[in-house]
């Protein structure tokens, strides 16, 4: 286990660097001059003054060889400085942290809601195994995977904001504004979580100690609460960790439709504006967090499933 941890930590650093380098290349391989893109993102209008372009190229050092620029960035990053955003000239950290905070709260709300719904639905389905309720729950939650969010989101806005005027159509200010985006984001996790909970509860129900408890005359309700649920929920913990990682930068469409300035939106804008330091900082944070979370999830998973260990032996 210690070896596993050591290897993971070492490779973790490498993978984050890999990601940062990939992002670093964006403005150099995409068409259009980086300096012009930066200027356009600051002042509107099509005509760009040639002298300004040259001055900016020199000042930002984007005319230097690629590797020089990358090493310069790496050196600063090593000392905790993510640099200044090209477009806003403010520290990247100051932009990444608020965005990260918004995305984190959105992801936590999404996964919390998804877990709650899934535990209820999954347990109900397992307890009714094979009956109509089970089939209904299973089919409906499976259908959730197939709903395109770019379709559901506008339709929900149409109904709840425009027709019924009960929820805000956009923004990120308070619980009411979170309802629609969280609903849209939670559907897919609910689908996966429900089936995991259902399987977990079914396994637990057939486990020896549960059968024994039942035969000792313990009530059905108590058995479920005391013995079945704790085991049934185990798979959810690792699943949630992995989903957490996936949602960090994966909610671009929802963030855009609902005008939420989270990480997905930040990265998207940064790529479009050739704001290299911002894109790099953002990607390193997202990928770093995601990799740490995936590692943690795998770790928990291995502890729970000793057979996996053979794979890394």
């Amino acid at each position: 286990m210690m070896l596993f941890l050591a290897r993971r930590t070492a490779t973790l650093g490498v993978s984050v660097l890999l990601a940062s380098f990939l992002v670093f290349l964006i403005p150099y391989v995409t068409p259009g001059d980086p300096a012009r893109k930066i200027i356009r993102s600051r002042v509107s209008g099509e005509v760009v003054d040639e002298a300004t372009v040259q001055a900016l190229t020199l000042q930002l050092g984007i005319g230097d060889p690629l590797w020089t620029q990358y090493l310069r960035w790496l050196g600063r990053f090593g000392s905790g400085d993510m640099g200044l955003s090209y477009t806003s000239r403010t520290p990247v950290v100051e932009q990444v942290l608020p965005a990260l905070w918004i995305t984190l709260s959105m992801v936590v709300a999404t996964l919390g809601a998804a877990a709650l719904v899934s535990v209820l639905l999954g347990t109900a389905a397992a307890l009714q195994e094979g009956r109509l309720a089970d089939k209904a729950i299973t089919t409906v939650t499976q259908a959730f995977i197939a709903i395109p969010e770019y379709w559901l989101a506008p339709v929900l806005v149409l109904i709840f904001a425009l027709k019924l005027s009960v929820l805000p159509s956009a923004g990120w200010a308070g619980p009411a504004s979170a309802v629609l985006p969280v609903t849209v984001l939670a559907l897919r996790p609910i689908s996966h979580f429900t089936s995991a909970v259902r399987e977990g509860v079914l396994d637990a129900l057939s486990a020896e100690h549960v059968v024994a408890a039942r035969s000792r005359g313990l009530g059905r309700r108590k058995t479920v609460l005391k013995h079945v649920l704790p085991n049934g929920l185990l798979p959810l913990t690792t699943l949630a960790a992995v989903w957490f990682a996936g949602l960090l930068g994966g909610s671009v469409i929802v963030e855009v439709i609902f005008a939420i300035p989270g990480m997905g939106r930040l990265l998207y804008d940064a790529v479009l504006n050739s704001d290299i330091p911002l894109a790099q900082g953002g990607v390193v944070v997202v990928v770093g967090l995601a990799v740490v979370l995936t590692t943690a999830a795998d770790l928990v998973h291995r502890l729970l499933n000793p057979r996996m260990r053979a794979h890394h032996a």
Binding site: P31, K37, I39, S44, G45, E46, V47, E50, A170, N273
Partner: protein, 514 residues
């Protein structure tokens, strides 16, 4: 949601600016109905990208928020420059202009407005890394305080346009304290009717009434300006009442808003004309008859009525008819398939390779416009294919002349309320943005003459004459004149639409209680 591609950068290109004013002032509401405790929400189409740097487009946000004010203002209705923080100005020599400051103006932090504070603010903009187009070292060589109340602006060449430049929002004035930190801090450092008090980065700016405003009692208690880049969302929010003012409404949302009795839709001509640029330097577009043939083949009336939902008018040439330099007697070209065929034959054109129209994605409707043009040209046997692309990706090809046609639009008045910059950059032989690769001696002479002409009427006449050359030679096909469309809640009072989206929150703005 193509709007996704409208990043804040793209939004810059798309910024709707316009020329003539149009407004209403809360009919049927007596001034007494104004409720001094009301706050309103304004949905703006862009977010500040460069923190609050005045040389960036963030200045537009500070200005429409009623925070930032300039020395002069361009009065849309009167069509001239009027006093604001400066009460008067005069040209004291060929290269020097003196501006006299208004007495008794205080910044929101209590500092007095003096020549020194103005010079400090203007110099910051002049020395910026990426200077504003309206106010940069190429057009302004110096800013200095002559005395307590007089600021002198020096230009490198004689220019009648200096007062126009000081109406640009980029020349807004902030107190010295705003520039003490690493970045510009406008909070409490403006002169306007509203004081910014807090911001949620990339989301919104909250403002309170400036109790001590030089222009009189401010009616609203405060406001929130939200940055909503998606047009459909802005339209939705003014319908639901989440927003009281939504700027720049997409034409596709127009009919829904017009049907809503709680919403008023305001429209004004904009200095933007959707244009089919043609590469005059490349066959077959190097033949004027071929270009005229394409123009005759297009049905601009139907285009304006369908894709633009009637919210844009078919264009009659490079200028909108309401502009003071409009070409007299200009008519919208009518579709004439027979004439188009004859012109094509005269040009010796035979259908060969499909010609490519590039539709830039920053404007969602251009893909549809291209599709309609494609059908129009199919009727005269000119095969066309369409490519959508991000503007930045195709710009090098456009500038180097490696393209057939591109659908784009451009703000004629991007820097100042005068089209000289546009006419020079876009159509003179050495123009820096001559996408059409057009070059005509007579045209260049007219523009050079206009640049030296101080008399406004004479200058406008020269512009019109130059515009006529462009139209006669069918340099491009000007499709429709776009309109600036804003939507406001019906209970908003004394609101005046500024088609340039610079002045939205004013001291007079009111909202009646609901």
């Amino acid at each position: 949601m193509r709007a996704l591609l409208r990043s804040s950068a793209a939004m810059g290109l798309v910024a709707v600016l316009a020329l003539s004013g149009c407004g209403f002032s809360g009919e049927g509401e007596s001034p007494q109905a104004a409720d001094l405790d009301q706050r309103i929400v304004v949905d703006n189409f862009r977010a500040p990208v460069a923190d609050w740097a005045l040389e960036s487009d963030a200045a537009y946000i500070l200005s429409l928020s009623g925070c930032l004010e300039t020395l002069t203002r361009y009065d849309e209705a009167a069509g001239k420059i009027v006093p604001s923080l400066a009460t008067g100005w005069e040209q004291v020599s060929d290269l020097e202009w003196d501006f006299t400051l208004r007495d008794g103006v205080k910044f929101q932090d209590g500092t007095a407005l003096t020549a020194d504070t103005v010079v400090n603010s203007l110099r910051t903009v002049l020395e910026a890394e990426v200077p504003a187009r309206a106010f940069n070292p190429t057009v302004v060589s110096g800013v200095e305080a002559i005395d307590e109340r007089t600021v002198r602006i020096t230009t490198p060449t004689e220019s009648p346009l200096v007062p126009y430049r000081l109406a640009s929002v980029n020349t807004g004035v902030l107190a010295p304290a705003a520039f003490e930190g690493e970045t510009v801090d406008p909070f409490g450092h403006c002169t306007g009717p509203f004081t910014p008090v807090s911001e949620k980065p990339k989301q919104s700016l909250t403002l309170d009434r400036n109790e001590d405003y030089w222009g009189g009692q401010v009616q609203l208690a405060g406001a929130e300006v939200r940055f909503i880049t998606d047009g459909a969302t802005r339209a939705t929010q003014v319908q639901t009442g989440e927003a009281d003012v939504s700027l720049s409404i997409p034409v596709s949302s127009l009919s829904a808003l017009e049907a809503d009795e709680n919403v008023k839709v305001l429209k004004a001509d904009s200095p933007r004309t959707a244009t089919l640029y043609m590469n005059n330097g490349k066959a077959p577009f190097d033949d004027v008859e071929f270009r005229q043939a394409l123009r005759a083949a297009l049905d601009l009336n139907t285009l304006a009525g369908s894709v633009y939902e009637g919210a844009a008018l078919p264009a009659s040439g490079p200028f909108a008819p309401s502009e003071p330099w409009a070409i007299e007697g200009a008519q919208t070209p009518q579709q004439d398939v027979e004439a188009a065929r004859q012109l094509l034959a005269a040009a010796g054109y035979t259908a060969g390779r499909p010609l490519e129209i590039i539709a830039i994605v920053e404007r969602a409707e251009f893909a549809d416009v291209a599709t309609v043009i494609q059908e129009n040209l199919k009727a005269v046997d000119v095969p066309v294919k369409i490519r959508t692309a991000e503007y930045a990706a195709v710009e090098p090809d456009l500038l180097s002349g490696d393209y057939d046609m591109v659908l784009s639009q451009r703000n004629r008045l991007i820097d100042i309320a005068d089209p000289i910059g546009f006419l020079t950059a876009d159509y003179t032989c050495d123009g820096g943005y001559n996408l059409s690769h057009f070059c005509d001696e007579d045209y260049d002479k007219l523009i050079a003459q206009a640049a030296r002409t101080a008399d406004t009427q004479e200058r406008y006449r020269l512009y019109a004459e130059a515009g006529k050359i462009l139209q006669d030679q069918a340099v491009n096909i000007w499709l429709v004149n776009e309109q600036a469309i804003d939507a406001v809640r019906a209970n908003l009072g004394s609101h005046v639409q500024d088609p340039l989206a610079r002045y939205v929150l004013r001291a007079e703005t009111t909202k009646s209680g609901s």
